[in-house]
């Protein structure tokens, strides 16, 4: 009974879409990297850096969109570091990715202390406010869920369509996907595999950072350590869940977010009183793993994912 009430409540779906938004940005970012053949494990750290940079940008008076741009730029900078090491130098993508995560996280904390040496609790900013789209937001259930969100959420949904269109409807997308399938084919056509892969990692990392910024600028209005809390790793799984396709990845993000929103609400029902709350916290991850196992069995991994390409080598 309770469960059906929850699933039919507008506030549940509103929360689910809100929780999904940062995941959508970061998953799209990771998807772009992986489609070009580079696994970017820097995602977790880049989200932390983005969360801080966006919030700090807005706090220093650049405005909310200015903050989003700062986050994007910081993300792209870490993307540049990552891609320089993994693409032209061909270093291990696992090691570089984890290194970037550690570097970005600790540099963020350092920057935080440098910028705000004496505060005990971080200052708040005027975060993005929900913007109700006329008429559409009056629809039952999906109105509040989809059309009474903050502008960043709308942007996330628009980006899904944009990324899909670029990947499947433009020569650039074709070259990017080919770089992840058979880089030799790209090189044989006189295109630069290095350029394409680096570009993909840089842009993808920018999107990851915007995903992080969503947390401090839209979901909440301040920055805390441990705020990202493993969301980056979830996005890596969501890319697999989505079989490297933007639409399916969007579904995965919403599904995971719905599990998350659901467990918070179940905790508050009488059932929640009898079971330790950690079980509920675990639920979205557990269900995601199950879904991942089911969904990813037939997925086609980009054939050249994690394979460095050196021109002139066979």
């Amino acid at each position: 009974m309770d469960l059906i009430d929850i699933l039919l409540s507008a506030s549940f779906w509103t929360a689910a879409i809100r929780i999904a938004s940062p995941l959508i940005f970061a998953t799209l970012g990771e998807l772009i990297c992986e489609r070009a053949g580079v696994l970017n494990l820097g995602i977790e750290g880049i989200m932390v850096a983005g969360a801080f940079a966006g919030w700090m940008g807005a706090y220093s008076g650049l405005g909310l969109w200015g903050g989003v741009c700062v986050a994007m730029a910081v993300g792209m900078m870490f993307g540049l570091i990552h891609s320089l090491l993994t693409v032209p130098f061909g270093l291990s993508q696992h090691v570089v990715g984890l290194g970037v995560t550690l570097l970005a996280t600790s540099m963020t904390y350092y920057a935080y202390r440098l910028a705000l040496p004496e505060v005990t609790s971080p200052p708040k900013i005027d975060a993005f406010q929900p913007f109700e789209i006329p008429i559409l937001s009056d629809l039952p259930l999906i109105g509040p869920a989809l059309f009474s969100q903050t502008p960043l959420t709308y942007l996330a949904f628009v980006l899904v369509v944009v990324v899909w269109a670029v990947l499947y409807r433009t020569p650039l997308g074709l070259a990017l996907r080919a770089a992840g399938e058979n880089p030799a084919a790209v090189a044989a056509q006189g295109l630069s595999v290095t350029g394409i892969r680096m570009g993909a990692v840089i842009v993808g990392s920018g999107l990851m950072a915007v995903g992080g910024a969503f947390l401090t600028m839209s979901a909440f209005d301040s920055f805390f350590f441990e705020m990202v809390n493993g969301r980056g790793w979830i996005c890596i799984a969501l890319v697999v869940f989505g079989a490297w396709k933007p639409g399916k990845a969007l579904l995965g993000a919403i599904l995971f977010a719905a599990f998350d929103a659901l467990q918070i609400r179940i905790q508050q029902t009488p059932l929640g009183a009898d079971i330790p709350y950690q079980v509920f916290l675990m639920m979205p991850y557990f269900l995601s793993i199950l879904a991942l196992i089911v969904m990813s069995r037939r997925a086609e991994v980009p054939a050249a994912l994690m394979v460095p390409f050196n021109k002139g080598e066979r």
């Binding site: 650039l172 996907r177 790209v186 006189g190 295109l191 021109k311 002139g312």
Partner: protein
């Protein structure tokens, strides 16, 4: 008048390489190589591995920058080191290892890189129309919407050619194009090439198969050790002359004396193995490997050769049917048992499964026998014996290397294969599984490997020779089977089948006529 025009066009030089020199350290890969290609002409570039053919083409395509010399396409000098320049000037290359993305469609593969990356749409309607038109014009039948991974090797090659034609290539370079084709597919390819020449294209055909060079080319250029040593009109020369020019001396393929077959050392009866992804398993295969006989297995790659090789090597077990050796049936057949029963394996891919690149020669030489005396006793290695064995192999099999401590990846393919050959033959195997034993080797090494296999046969070993090269199969085998989709043809004795007849079997025909097994 028209005739004169024709002559005029033929005389037009479309590509000229002028005194190209390229060195890698002490190695001179190309030494002042010059060539010119005329409109509507097919020239063959002939040479052994390492003769400098690939380097020359890589210079043309801007992958390497030449130390000196110039490249001219349609009288325009091409800037060195720019991969796009040759493509844009109208030169198309069909690489030996296809540069196709398997998960993408034919259409996507053909379009890749032809539009500016910043164009906002792919315009697939016009693209499709052009592909269909080209396919008809050049007789290159292929479905634009098929996923490349599902196509046959012959079809993939057509996609590669389409890619070049789609970019309006006027000059086609084909690097070892027939290595992976059946005789019929080769005929189709030649048909397409003649079509292209009639339409005014010019072709450089890189190969070391002499009869194909004779069949398709107008002129033959021979490269040896980086130098252009000869240029012959195809009509004025013959295979023997070309072979001699290619290696620098008369070539003597090993004499094959008639075999004296003994009893079957290994017999398969109605053996089936499961399919593995796209690779078919064996379908009720019956096969006898007799002592003192070379059994050739012909077929297009990916038709069950891998399954048969894995089965004989003990890597997989029969799903049904029986495997019998001299000492009876072996129901629990494993790799360990295969080695102990005297099966010697020359693996298909010497880099992937034959050797461990970072190990030295000694370690590689005892890779299959390190657990046995004399190389190890009671769990301890005896490196002295291992090294002595390796030195013996190096001497006997003429492995050119600095010493047994050299890492094997530093050896050339031919020397690596000689070490593997030594490793296998020194254990005096009763049954030898030779899977693509000469792939990628030059003629000298090929002849060496072949004569050693014949020697082993004459000593009474049963040899199974698996090869995609029909010429090799026909030259060496006492009996031939063809494999297609995991089915095995009947046994054909030496000389009873022509290449065309075997080609029919390789294409999968003839098997239906077999009385169906009760299933």
């Amino acid at each position: 008048m028209a005739k004169q025009d024709d002559v005029q066009k033929r005389a037009q030089v479309v590509l000229r390489l002028d005194r190209i020199t390229k060195t890698f350290g002490a190695l001179v890969a190309n030494d002042a190589v010059s060539l010119s290609l005329h409109r509507g002409e097919v020239i063959a570039l002939l040479g052994e591995n390492g003769a400098g053919k690939t380097t020359l083409m890589n210079i043309l395509f801007g992958q390497y920058t030449a130390d000196s010399g110039t490249v001219e396409v349609f009288t325009q000098t091409i800037p060195p080191g720019n991969p796009r320049a040759a493509l844009d000037a109208g030169v198309g290359m069909v690489h030996q290892h296809f540069t196709l993305a398997d998960h993408m469609t034919v259409l996507e593969n053909v379009t890749l890189g032809t539009h500016s990356l910043w164009k906002t749409n792919l315009d697939s309607v016009a693209t499709r129309a052009k592909i269909v038109r080209l396919a008809e014009e050049f007789r290159l039948q292929v479905d634009p919407d098929a996923i490349v991974g599902t196509l046959t090797v012959g079809e993939r090659q057509r996609v590669e050619i389409l890619k070049a034609l789609y970019r309006d290539a006027r000059i086609l370079i084909l690097d070892e194009p027939t290595a992976v084709l059946t005789p019929q597919e080769t005929d189709d390819l030649f048909e397409t090439l003649r079509e292209a020449v009639d339409l005014g294209l010019s072709i450089i055909f890189i190969s070391h198969k002499l009869h194909e060079v004779m069949a398709i080319s107008d002129r033959v250029l021979i490269l040896r050790h980086g130098k252009m040593v000869a240029e012959e009109r195809t009509s004025d020369t013959d295979k023997h002359k070309l072979a001699a020019l290619m290696v620098g001396s008369e070539v003597h393929a090993p004499e094959v004396a008639p075999a004296t077959p003994g009893p079957a050392l290994m017999s398969l009866a109605d053996v089936c193995t499961p399919d593995k992804g796209n690779a078919p398993g064996l379908k009720q295969v019956t096969l006898d490997l007799r002592a003192g006989q070379i059994t050739g297995l012909a077929g297009v790659s990916g038709n069950g050769q891998a399954a048969l090789a894995d089965l004989i090597g003990g890597l997989i077990q029969p799903e049904s049917g029986t495997l019998t050796l001299e000492d009876g049936a072996h129901p629990n057949w494993t790799a360990r048992e295969a080695v102990h029963s005297g099966v010697g394996r020359i693996p298909e891919d010497r880099h992937k499964t034959g050797t461990i690149a970072e190990f030295d020669l000694t370690e590689n030489a005892i890779l299959e026998s390190y657990k046995d005396a004399p190389f190890s006793r009671r769990g301890w290695m005896n490196w002295g014996r291992a090294e002595a064995f390796t030195r013996e192999v190096i001497d006997t099999y003429d492995v050119r290397c600095p010493g047994p401590g050299t890492r094997i990846r530093l050896l050339s393919g031919g020397n690596m294969q000689k070490l593997i050959l030594g490793r296998v033959l020194e254990s005096e195997p009763r049954i030898i599984l030779a899977n693509q034993p000469v792939r990628g080797l030059d003629i000298g090494a090929v002849n060496y490997v072949h004569s050693r296999l014949l020697e082993a046969r004459d000593k009474g070993a049963a040899v199974l020779l698996i090869s995609e090269d029909l010429d090799e199969i026909m030259a060496l085998s006492d009996v031939i089977h063809v494999i297609s989709e995991g089915q095995l043809s009947p046994e054909f004795a030496r000389g009873t089948m022509s290449p065309a007849e075997l080609g029919v079997w390789m294409a999968g025909h003839g098997f239906e006529a077999e009385p169906a097994h009760a299933s």
